[in-house]
Amino acid sequence: MLTVAALAGVMSLVSAPFASADNIFNISRNFAFIGLVALGQTAVIATGGIDLSVGSVMGLSGIVTGLVLGSGQPLVLAAAAGLGCAFLCGLTNGALVGYLRLSPFVVTLGMLSVARSLALVVSNNKMIHDFGPDERVVLALGGGRFLGLANPVWLLLVAALCAAAWFRYSRLARHVLAVGGNENSTRLAGVPVARVKLTVYVLSSLLAGVSAILMIGWLGAVTNALGQGYELRVIASAVIGGANLMGGEGGAFGAVAGAALIELIRNSLLLLGVDPYWQGAFVGGSIIVAMLVERVRRGSRTAG
């Protein structure tokens, strides 16, 4: 949070367009899509797992939603279809990781490839920009604004507040952190560990689906490349926000702050005229730096 504020402060001094209402609006909307997915990712990481498939699940959900819309169905049905696909992806991930105890890294890496490929199959590699009779609703939902903030930002705020309350007050979230802390003892305590894991992977996928539906409304079209490479930014957001990849730690506001920070870095680089080719290096580098900072913090704590 402090880092975000500090970077924003510096940027508003060195770059006039940075603090403009338009730019702030853009930044907040851009990280809303990532932040939403990062909330789910944080829960997965808190169990000691990881979900690499979120970007591809976004692609699949987006394409399916777009196709169903394009065939003339109402948004409710299309969203249900898109979220249904996301749900199935999450269910598969969660069942394999939770019940069959496969490695989350490998399972979700496989799903990354499967979901992206399915998006190609069902879309036949075509762009979908005809959203049928509900087109205006879709565009308004993802691209519109309310009281000066983009709709996705509102949704992110609501979701983050819910997630924060969930982390603090729900039994499931307590079990999520317990599984990440010591899976075996949590199992011995009678907590249904497999079910806890299943739930977080489903949540993660569903949030990716929601984000995708908003995103196609903002973009006004969907290709099967939607969300490509987003897994990195999502995981980076969660990790920068304090989720511990070893499990057992993570919070809602951290994930949002992490997403904001990454978007700020990207935006700042653009405004400062840095070649966009450098973005990957900075985003990737910031994950590594976040890990190093965490290591130093933890190191000094355990030494005491």
């Binding site: 603090r168 007050y169 729900s170 039994r171 307590r174 079990h175 952190l177 317990a178 990440g180 802390g181 010591n182 075996n184 003892s185 949590t186 199992r187 011995l188 305590a189 009678g190 907590v191 499990g247 057992g248 730690e249």
Partner: protein, 244 residues
């Protein structure tokens, strides 16, 4: 209250337990002894419901039962494990209530964790144990004795009928060992049955009514501690005496 009838446990080709019979009466403290790999932990995990025996049966109050960790708890069986099975990243109170969190209903509908009640109840339990553990402290930052207090407090939570203690005195100071032994005596006075696994002969002879010795998965002795001696038990453990 607890009876094991010809209980055997096979892990692949390895026979961890061979036809073990055991009877525990309410308020009885039994010391379970044996060398590493003799089958003590396996036996404990069967009674705690973590393993289902591959042969024989577990009976509670004369009725055959199939135990899972949850059903064992419902039957009033609580285990405290050697590695204490705590989540380092959670607070003492969160660990005490792990899997049995207290909730209240927000606005009459939404179930939320009742942090205040869990904190209060854990503080009471730590008080009873005479431990200086604070409910909000993270287990990661605790001493061995404090961790033991958290694990025992967790087991005490449900006022169990049978407590399984796996090496409760292995990792703590001499003063704290005396406290744990005192606690075991207190459990017996309240009619709680205790199965105590220990390497420490002195602990078993200090608090146990009976000593049960396992060697290579077989029960080689089961007698009142007053009829036995540390020397005899040592001989039984090592195999210098076949059975007694």
């Amino acid at each position: 209250m607890l009876q094991l009838r010809s209980v055997g446990m096979q892990f692949g080709a390895v026979e961890a337990l061979h036809s073990v019979d055991l009877d525990l009466a309410p308020g009885e403290v039994a010391g379970l002894m044996g060398d590493n790999g003799a089958g003590k932990s396996t036996l404990l995990k069967i009674v705690a419901g973590n393993f289902a025996p591959t042969s024989g049966e577990v009976r509670l109050d004369e009725r055959a039962v199939e135990l899972t960790p949850l059903s064992a708890r419902e039957h009033g069986i609580e285990a405290v494990y050697q590695d204490l099975a705590l989540c380092d990243n959670l607070s003492a109170a969160a660990n005490v209530f792990l899997g049995r969190e207290l909730s209240r209903r927000l606005l009459g509908v939404l179930p939320v964790l009742d942090h205040a009640a869990m904190r209060r109840r854990s503080a009471e339990l730590f008080d009873e144990l005479g431990s200086d553990t604070r409910p909000d402290d993270l287990v990661r930052r605790m001493s061995g004795g404090q961790r033991q207090a958290v694990a025992i407090a967790r087991a005490r939570l449900s006022s169990p009928r049978l407590m399984l203690l796996d090496e409760p005195t292995a990792a703590i100071s001499v003063r704290q060992i005396a406290e744990v032994l005192e606690l075991i005596r207190g459990l017996r006075e309240r009619g709680v049955c205790v199965l105590l696994i220990s390497h420490r002969m002195s602990d078993v002879f200090a608090v146990a009514d009976r000593v049960v010795v396992l060697r290579r998965g077989r029960k080689v002795a089961d007698k009142a501690t007053t009829d036995s001696s540390p020397e005899e038990v040592t001989a039984l453990i090592t195999g210098a005496i076949e059975a007694a």
